[in-house]
Symmetry: C4
Subunit: 380 residues, 4 copies
């Protein structure tokens, strides 16, 4: 049982964002510029939920700092005409090697929530990974932006039937891959969620059964209702049997588990520490990426998230063998600032930063980056 929580946050349930006019995008030249105005628009409880990490948040900070150990090695006079940031992910083209990582409850950032996110991602030609705990239904998100590349992030639910229904709905709605989160057997210990007795309301989770979780002695699992502690490698076959779409395992931090993922038929291994929100004092993804790529030996695609804000943090990933990178919080900030237009502006910045970065590296495409284009100056 977790410590009992104060109840004064109760009156603020639903945590909806305020209704200010959108931010003037002309002044936003990097994703981080979205952060401060987003914070003004998002309810403090929702901000704490989005921004917070597990335990003392060491890994939250480390993940942003981990890139300082890497140095890009730009090559000159390579004649990089025809810069092209497109890539291929799971066998299909993507306009960028950057996608939107799954995050709960986009509706706390903007009233249009995942609908706006989906429209912007589709317009940008980027992959949008929609969370099990989205504010909008699987079907509504798909309908909002037909033709976009869209994956469904799956939290296995306590009842197998509920889980199966989610998977079947996603496949039916055209989600092209299942992104199974494997690093949340239980929720991480999150101080701010506990302090605020986080409860976005009984109807907050559009894809899950209605429930009113609040009790004075509710623990984290009851508050957030995510728990898949019984899940094992052997369950993957059953999950895969529910829908004929690729399976991505998200939340792997060791070469051992990457090898197991491949052996159990995963189509992709997503290196992630879950935004620093689960166990503390684990590695930043970039610090273990190379070892995982080596373990996978090309038998599956490898993705990376964690701390990516600008092109100089994107470039090392393909150089070290990642097919794509994902990030979530910056897009939530962009969404809070200006809805769909904000996310679109964010993709515009990333594309400009990345194309410019590829030119500066002397490499026309993400695929032309090799291990020789990056070095590490401190041990991992």
């Amino acid at each position: 049982m977790l410590p009992a929580m104060t109840t004064d946050a109760r009156s603020r349930r639903n945590y909806l964002p305020d209704e200010r006019p959108p931010v003037d995008l002309a002044g936003i030249v990097r994703l981080r510029d979205f952060e401060a105005p987003a914070r003004e628009r998002i309810h403090p409880a929702a901000w704490a939920y989005y921004a917070g990490g597990g335990y003392d948040e060491h890994v939250l900070a480390d993940t942003l700092a981990a890139w300082d150990a890497f140095r890009l090695r730009p090559r000159v006079l390579t004649g990089v005409t025809g810069i092209d940031a497109t890539t291929t992910i799971l066998g299909r083209p993507a306009s960028l090697p950057i996608g939107i990582a799954p995050a709960a409850l986009h509706g706390l950032a903007h009233r249009e929530g995942e609908l706006a996110t989906a429209r912007a991602a589709t317009a940008a030609g980027a992959i949008h990974v929609v969370s099990t705990v989205a504010s909008h239904t699987i079907e509504d998100v798909a309908a909002a932006a037909p033709g976009g590349r869209r994956w469904f992030q799956l939290y296995v639910q306590r009842e197998r039937a509920v889980t199966r229904a989610l998977v079947e709905r996603a496949a039916a709605a055209g989600y092209e891959a299942l992104c199974l989160t494997v690093d949340l057997p239980v929720l991480g210990y999150r101080d701010e969620v506990l302090r605020l007795h986080f409860d976005p309301g009984a109807d907050a989770y559009a894809n899950l059964p209605r429930r009113d979780v609040w009790r004075p002695d509710a623990d984290l699992d009851e508050m957030v209702d995510m728990r898949s502690v019984e899940l094992t490698w052997n369950d993957l076959d059953e999950i895969r049997s529910w829908a004929p779409i690729p399976l991505v395992l998200k939340g792997i931090l060791t070469a051992e588990d990457a090898r197991l993922a491949v052996e159990h038929g995963a189509d992709a291994v997503w290196v992630s520490n879950h935004g620093g929100r689960q166990l503390d004092r684990v590695a930043a993804g970039i610090d273990v990426l190379e070892g995982i790529v080596d373990a996978v030996e090309g038998r599956a695609e490898v993705y990376l998230d964690g701390g990516i804000r600008r092109a100089p943090e994107i470039l090392p990933a393909p150089a070290l063998g990642a097919r794509a990178v994902f990030t979530a919080r910056p897009f939530l900030w962009a969404l809070a600032c200006a809805g769909e237009a904000g996310v679109t502006h964010g993709f515009g910045i990333l594309r400009e930063e990345l194309e410019r970065g590829l030119a500066l590296m002397g490499t026309p495409t993400p695929a032309s980056l090799t291990r020789g284009h990056v070095t590490r100056v401190r041990g991992a």
Copy 2:
């Protein structure tokens, strides 16, 4: 002779805590949350005594920072149902691999002192190590919480007979092990103790003869009256002859001494820098743990203290071979905040953090953690 001290602290002798109502525990979600309200309740001289370290306190800070060199390596999809934080210490079960390290004068934190601590530890099923310089007698602490697991921490006194009496009383009162502090041949040089001419009163130490130590030119040893500079490995046999209970040697920081401890029959080696209160610029325990475990080769149990505040600092210890960890200051803070209920709440937090941490590691028990579950990112 130490520098003469100012005498204005004299009027504040006894240093009793103030009598505010207990802290509302609903707002306490981590042990560190106890610190600030505890500081408001504890007399400044007592706070300085509890919080301070030896010399310039480099090791005090280093011990908290040492964990930053370690990274946990969580494994996924292991199906960790049946999370169980219990362990076995000195051949008997303990509900947690975390105990209360010895600390002087719990009466400076709360008027019920070690009596309250003992009741909370017993309720939690955790080991409570009672200090020679407790505020309550060996017997009263035992009587306050019958059935609890309780060890007696021994400071060898200048007179052998006094020491022997302490050991015999502890064994008679059911203390199940003797925890001999070996890193205090003399007291560390402590600026704050000197500045305040620390003197808690002639009757402060319930288990020791009454004395009035204060003189204008008293040195640290006279003020605190702990000194065992003559003690050698050869004295262990005599100490052991006084009581037929296991012997734990607390305060070992080198593999050489760990080997000697085993050769001289110690049942356990307690890796510790004495809360950073003795010699400065020594190692943090966690930095030398692995080497000591290797030196011990399973011939004795190994414990660790130093800087442990949350589960992510507990988990590396069993992974590297420690049977249990201990911490003291956080429990003093909890005691100051709400007496027995505070310490009980502290144990509740640690249990929740730890069980959640075990699940996140993919390991059902402390014993299932191995060296492969932790790595170090900087040299020791």
Copy 3:
């Protein structure tokens, strides 16, 4: 397309420095002393342009901090009479192993711009590298200080004929080497330039055709009009055919490219990260200098820029094999503070610091410094 910019900076076009009286040089004892008063004199947009770096400016900070990894190893009792800081660069004597690195638009620092810089450099006997994007014409700079050692920094322009004309004019005006910038296939992503929609005016660049770049959706390349993305190693022969003067390649950060430079006939390799203004998260020059010197194997001269402010940052460079070092921003500060007299004063300080430093190293000349005179305390 970059994000659209605010237009409020438009009214401040031309960004000329204010007209305060010159700084009293008696209080300036190190180059960094020029920085604060320069900032008061330079237009904020120009300051942002001079001071800023690429992306998040990690490498801007790292380049200043990189020297902390090196330790000088001074030798004693060597009898260093006859300290002599002169050296030979490209076969001709220079009074100092320190020159003025190319920087755009000295006219933003002082109304006399490169004319003042040239006079001071010539008086000091130091090499002055004049930028393609200078505020004064190639010919006027040469005429301002006849007899000085002067190189022309070349940005290849989109039209080959424009580029060729620049090279021919420089050679005709007596510039003794061509310093081809190879790390600017496109401009780095510079937040401050974008925020201010930097535009110094249609006539700002004295050596380039008049143009009015400003459009609300101009991108960085249009704003600053530098782009040589098609340039390859094979173009060097053509460039060299335009003028019979040595060719220096500026902006090399890898041993691979240094080797290619030598193979393509470069007379010198200039190790540089372009003042941290191009790609972020690349190396500081000093961190890769030794590897590049090894790759060059004496077949070309090697120069270094980046973070050099004082003699202790100059001394490692010749010790590790660099023939000369260059720095730009400190001279812009000096120019802003007191025009020609400021730059002259700056050279006086550097000479005094360096001669004193040579004496303290026990080495009479830059050439007598060897690898044994420096060591590195952390990995690169």
Copy 4:
């Protein structure tokens, strides 16, 4: 020629300390406690001169931080009765392995200057190294405290006869060793000295000819009049011929020079970076001590200064092979605070800290410390 200096400091020549009553020593429990009250008593120009370092003062800070790379390895249960901090230096007993390093112009700290310092050092049984640029004559210092261990620090003067006279006077006055500073061929570049146009007055240096150095364009050497740039190893024989006392070479930072020192007959090698006051970006003494001890191979004694403030910084030195350590600034602070009594109090603190530290290390004497008692956690 150095930059011209402002002249407003002229009116404050002589820089004498103010006449406040002495500090109450009861509140001083560590040497650093002297610093703040000393600063209130010392003239700002004198404080800048004492406290400052060469160039950007990186090494000044590094020397204090260098100890953070070392960890003491205390041994337990060694029965360290009979703690004894005495040692033997140059064949004669010293009550402590800590002496007073040479520093200029103690008269700027206290009107009794070196006379007070000498009395306190003699009372403490510690070695006092008196500077060439003392405020009192060689003979007066000797007369102030007969029987003390006293060395003479020699700055070779431009005129050989002046130098010889100094050596002969020191030997005649009973100074038992000559401590030749070898790291000052010229003065380091010191910003604060230049800013203030430091000039303590024509009569400030009691052992040197009267002179009035001030000119508006005086350079550092003229201001401070120390320069021995012509000195070589071959001059040592002549210096030694002037007085039949041991020769200590102070200011060595490389194993190569330590070997040369031994080969040229030095009785001791003093590892020092001159308080960070000469060349910047050199090593802290402790970082090169072990290599120098290895190079010396026991053929001479080795001493260390730099950053020593407390016992945990003293203990590594004998463990790594240094016979003694020295420190200067803390004694100047003590002198400024309370004259002779202050310095005496400082020695009392150091003795208490050190004896307590030896007990905590499990070693009765400095000589019983071995390399196994210290380890380094980061590379040098």
